[in-house]
């Protein structure tokens, strides 16, 4: 095959294929902005499916908070530079609404944002405060709050998910919770994988076989929890059909990442975005980004040769160390694509506290790039790097998304804000 240069042009280029990048493309679609999206990893596959807004409050991150909206108000006083504090509440709400309703229309239904956090169940039997949950997980949160009789079911050969563990850690607060192990249809020996189980449940015959097994495992109990394996492309239909076949209420609990709920999102975006007119180039890293008169030029290479994209605006949503948006070197943290200055601790000695699980978190996790009020990254002189460049997601400084349980919140809210600013620029 001959190598041929491919050129695309767009009003907006989104760099990054994590939650922030996909959220930006969704908001851009909503505003009819012609968009191209590029990213080197499938970071979105590492999400559990839970969309948290704010689950714990800096600086001590003590107890989980129930009201994330009030939490943000408190954060505005204590940590005004936190990205969530730079966006009006109504905009954050709208961002979550638009994001979840888009996912719902694409076949992965979510609960809409509410006033309070709900408790998401984890495979360790702990609880994660989150704002929105996939519809497949909703029954679990509800059953927990109602303390309904429930059986957690796991599968022989599926490692890392033990129903006995979930029950052992929840039984003090959920006395009528019990555990059961079953065999997955046609996968009775050796190790089995959630992704393979999920894909096999897209086949009606497998669902019928599993339904019989589940009904028998549930006994008299009417609610059952499973590891997240209920189909890859139409989880809501799979769940609904299993509920009809069994007469039970069924919910999912996320497994260790990369887990099925994350892979669902990635595959759905990769399948649907091109149909909706987004030029999506996944699994590729942008080699070069230069700003020219009225826009930017992105250069990258895939196995068919070079690709260039001309865009009037760019949103940098490249994430942190895991996705390569930030680079941790012996001498400090850098931003590799544009060499943007990174706000960070003075020396590597200060990156980490002594104790890993210190509730106050680690200084290096709040390192990141600075933006102006329009979410334009700042250069070494504190001026916008380019009027055409915006940033979103956890690459932004002054937030610790891990301790704050606010990864999705920062991603979705800042993507919304950045796209709003892009629209202003394009007008």
């Amino acid at each position: 095959m001959s190598e041929e240069d491919r050129h695309f042009s767009a009003e907006l280029a989104v760099i990054g294929t994590g939650l922030a990048g996909f959220a930006a493309s969704i908001f851009a679609l909503k505003r009819n902005i012609k968009t191209a999206q590029v990213g080197n990893t499938g970071a979105v596959a590492y999400t559990t499916g839970y969309l948290d807004l704010l689950g714990s409050l800096a600086p001590d991150y003590l107890a989980s908070i129930e009201d994330p909206w009030q939490g943000i108000e408190q954060l505005r006083d204590s940590h005004p530079r936190h990205p969530l504090c730079r966006i009006p509440k109504d905009d954050i709400f709208t961002a979550f609404e638009q994001f979840t309703s888009f996912l719902g229309k694409c076949g992965i239904a979510y609960t809409p944002p509410g006033e309070f956090n709900v408790s998401g169940l984890t495979p360790a039997g702990t609880l994660k405060p989150t704002l929105c949950v996939p519809a497949t997980m909703q029954v679990g949160s509800a059953a927990f709050s109602q303390k309904e009789p429930c059986v957690i079911i796991d599968f022989k050969g599926l490692k890392g998910f033990s129903s006995r563990q979930v029950v052992a850690n929840l039984k003090d607060r959920w006395p009528k919770l019990s555990s059961k192990r079953v065999e997955f249809p046609d996968m009775v020996s050796g190790e089995i994988y959630p992704e393979v189980m999920a894909r096999s449940l897209e086949v009606p015959a497998t669902r019928e076989k599993l339904a019989k097994i589940l009904a028998s495992a549930a006994g008299d109990v009417k609610v059952i929890g499973l590891p997240a394996i209920l189909g890859m492309h139409a989880p809501d239909l799979v769940r609904e059909e299993l509920e009809q076949l069994t007469g039970l209420q069924i919910f999912e609990i996320p497994t260790m990442p990369p887990s099925v709920p994350g892979i669902r999102l990635r595959e759905m975006f990769e399948q649907l975005f091109p149909q909706k007119g987004v030029t999506l180039i996944p699994q590729q890293k942008v080699d070069r980004l230069v700003f020219i008169e009225n826009g930017a030029q992105l250069s990258l290479n895939d196995s068919f040769g070079p690709i260039s994209i001309h865009a009037k605006s760019v949103i940098l949503a490249t994430g942190r160390f895991l996705s390569g948006g930030l680079k941790a070197g012996v001498d400090g943290v850098s931003e590799p694509l544009l060499k943007l200055p990174v706000t960070q601790p003075d020396s590597r000695r200060e990156w980490y506290r002594e104790k890993y699980t210190d509730r106050r978190g680690h200084a290096v996790n709040s390192a990141g790039i600075e933006v102006d009020s329009s979410f334009r990254p700042l250069d070494n002189h504190g001026r916008p790097y380019s009027k055409n460049l915006f940033a979103a997601g956890v690459i932004l400084a002054h937030q610790d998304w891990i301790r704050g349980r606010c990864g999705a919140g920062v991603a979705i809210a800042t993507a919304y804000k950045a796209v709003e600013e892009v629209e202003k620029l394009l007008k």
Partner: protein, 528 residues
């Protein structure tokens, strides 16, 4: 809730305090002589310097310029161990290399220095050295080959304990901390201990008491009122690379200094050490400055160390006898000291300290001679001639061995829990059932010490979750304590990773933290 402390009494011939290789070696030596022992450790086997070193079986060449006596001991002992503990040893061979800037006089004279110690030290050409180790610096000007080797101290300690258990039911109790001795008529009558896991109190009555606590030996001796153990502490920090960079042990051909030994160990290499005098044993941990010094110095021998991926760092403390003095602690004697405390009016207590991994067997022999003699037992030592037998439950610490066992067994139901090091469920089963120090509710830390779990690039961030979930599954964990074990295990591994987290390891750390704290909430267990 107040719990009434359970009290328990145990009797034994000999109580050995300190589960390093020396304590484990004494246990086996005394078992051969027909003496029953109880070995206790505040933490676990090899928790101190026995587990915090290069894993280098010294040929003796390293000490040739500073301590001829130690050099000869190393030569003799390493030869013995290669015969009797071959399963714990990899005969890698060693190189001594001088690079531009090193003292040519010292380099030229090295073989002549080794000669009186009887160490086989042969000069090789620079070309040959680079053929043996392609990553050596282009600035090499002198190289020698010596019979250095590597040793797995964990397996060594485990096998010594396992063999003693087999010979005469001698036993080992982890997490058992000595609180105080009861003295009576010039003797120790009993030792009162606390089980740090259950908080129960244990009183041990023994005929003889051995203090084999390494750097902690002074503290323990003081508990018996002995003022004749005076130690200085020299902290050494080492780091572990993701890949095995050399096949030989590579030593810098100069008087001992920072970052001048690179030791292969299974699939990784260990670079070290620094040497810093410390006043206490509580705050011993690697610092960023020590890491940077090791890497900078090591780079002079092996330039690839500058860009290598490091997965872990750790520190150990060399106990140095105070009389040693000198400006550089590495120049101080690396010999050992056996104190019988007769001048302290005690006739059934002794202390063994100093020395090094390579001479642990000799240290155990000398101590056992004293202890047996005091009990009028004249059975001779056997540890220099009788090979250390293998034991199934102790085989999991060997790097690269787990995958071999797993492929051989070819059991599809036996799932791999640690994917970096290929540790299967059956390894966990065997360790929980049979390994020295095994118990019903074993911590993840204790399991990791007895296997390769958590030693790979992910440093346990995934396998810690899988193993915990497996232990819940098997009924070993049954409440939130299992999550606390999991959290403690990650906190422990972090002590090793916090100073070497850059490059790819930073990505690994972000993923681990997102998983452990962001999703599972292990940073907030109290409130969950």
């Amino acid at each position: 809730m107040t719990q009434k402390q359970k009290r328990q009494t145990v009797e034994t011939d000999v109580l050995i305090i300190g589960g390093g290789v020396t304590g484990a070696g004494i246990m086996r030596d005394l078992a051969f002589r027909g003496l029953q022992t109880l070995l206790i450790d505040r933490k676990d086997l090899c928790a101190g310097a026995s587990g915090g070193n290069h894993g280098l079986l010294h040929s003796g060449s390293r000490y040739i310029s500073s301590d001829l006596h130690s050099a000869i001991e190393c030569r003799e002992e390493s030869t013995i161990l290669k015969h009797v503990a071959s399963q714990c040893i990899e005969e890698t061979g060693g190189l001594f290399v001088a690079v531009e800037g090193d003292d040519p006089g010292f380099a030229e004279n090295f073989a002549a220095l080794c000669q009186p110690a009887g160490i086989a030290c042969n000069p090789i050409s620079i070309d040959d050295a680079k053929k043996l180790e392609p990553l050596l610096s282009d600035k090499l000007f002198k190289a020698y080959k010596v019979p250095d080797a590597t040793v797995d101290p964990f397996r060594l300690a485990l096998l010594n304990v396992a063999h003693a258990r087999m010979i005469n039911s001698s036993s080992f109790r982890p997490h058992t901390e000595l609180l105080h001795f009861t003295l009576k008529d010039g003797k120790i009558e009993s030792a009162t201990c606390r089980d740090n896991q259950t908080n129960s109190i244990l009183t041990i009555y023994a005929n003889q008491y051995v203090n084999a606590c390494g750097a902690w030996a002074m503290n323990i001796a003081q508990l018996a009122g002995c003022k004749d153990v005076n130690l200085l502490y020299s902290k050494g920090t080492l780091l572990v690379s993701h890949d095995r960079l050399t096949t030989h042990v590579v030593n810098r051909l100069r008087p001992p200094g920072d970052g001048d030994i690179l030791v292969p160990g299974g699939t990784v290499s260990v670079l070290g050490t620094t040497s810093i005098r410390v006043d206490d044993l509580i705050t011993v941990k690697p610092t960023v400055a020590e890491i940077d010094i090791n890497v900078r110095e090591g780079t002079a021998m092996i330039p690839a160390l500058a860009k290598a991926r490091y997965i872990r760092a750790f520190s150990g403390v060399r106990p140095l006898l105070q009389s040693a003095g000198g400006s550089d602690d590495r120049e101080a004697t690396r010999g050992f000291a056996l104190l019988d405390h007769s001048t302290q009016n005690l006739s059934n207590f002794c202390t063994i300290t100093g020395g090094k991994l390579t001479t642990y067997r000799l240290m155990a022999e000398k101590t056992s001679d004293l202890v047996a003699g005091r009990l009028n037992n004249s059975e001779p030592c056997q540890t220099h001639v009788t090979p250390l037998p293998d034991e199934e439950s102790c085989k999991w610490t060997e790097p690269g061995a787990s995958p071999k066992y797993w492929y051989k067994a070819n059991d599809p139901e036996d799932m791999i829990l640690c994917e970096c090091e290929m540790v299967p469920q059956s390894a966990i089963d065997e360790i929980v059932k049979d390994a020295p120090g095994a118990e019903k509710e074993m911590t993840l830390k204790a399991i990791a010490l007895r296997s390769r779990a958590g030693k790979g690039p992910c440093q346990g961030s995934f396998c810690g979750i899988r193993i915990a979930s497996y232990l819940y599954d098997q009924g070993h964990y049954h409440d939130k304590t299992g999550l606390i074990h999991m959290r403690d295990f990650f906190n422990e591994r972090f002590k090793g990773t916090r100073t070497v987290t850059w490059g790819l390891q930073a990505a690994q750390m972000e993923l681990a933290e997102a998983l452990h704290c962001g999703l599972l909430g292990l940073d907030n267990l109290e409130n969950n």
